[in-house]
Amino acid sequence: MKRFIVAFIAAYIFIFFWGWLLNGVLLKDIYAQTPNLWRSQSEMMSLFHWIIIGQALVVFAFVMIYASGFAGGGVIAGIRLGILLEIAAIGMRMAIYAVQPFPGKLIVYGSISGLIEMLIVGAIVGAIYKPASQTTT
């Protein structure tokens, strides 16, 4: 349980800063090309707690999946899980692209960065979380 919590916190901190760097800084200009698809800056700030809860839910579910079916494989197992989950998410992104007029560039950059993000999250979780039988007291 202790390692579960530590893995969750470490992965959450990474995902929070990665999300800020990517969406708040690197992709800012691409988002600006479709202003009608996004909330205003002030509106986003008033709903910021949903970003925090959403990211926490993503990380919690990731660690739960790893702990329930993939634990014991270490960093490599975590990375593989991250890749599998992110490629499925790319499928979802493509389905959303069919119905929302996002710039294609945003889907491509979002998918590449998502893959990097989940790969690193997987490595963090795989490195920290160990099943009870592998932990020493």
Partner: protein
Amino acid sequence: MNWKKFFFAFIAAFGFMFLFGFLWYGKLMHGPHQEVPILWRTEADFGNHFSSLVFGHVVMAFFLTLLCARFAPGGGAGPCAILGVLVALIYAGADLITFAVQPLTTKILCGWIAGHLIQFTIAGAIIGAVYKSDSRMTPQV
């Protein structure tokens, strides 16, 4: 891995996910979606991007099947349905983030979260039921 069973599980999952998506997001949620028409492509534009919708569902179904086969190598509707719930929670988290940055209504947010939970839980159960093999193996990643 039993590739024959994997293939049938993938086809069944794709069929269900695509049909469910059409009914839930396309029909049932059509009204709530129309409250924010600026967010969606026009009918004609959607038609031009329909291949993305189909291919996206193929990718989702394939990798969910692969995940189930790794998560529960022996298959079974129960364990794979649980995996489906956990995967749905990842998408629910993404829905919450989308709600914070896009002008979605709370009705759309709730509909998307409920849709993902139902869709991935049932898809997981279908995959587990079809993929179920007689021999139980240890998880491999």
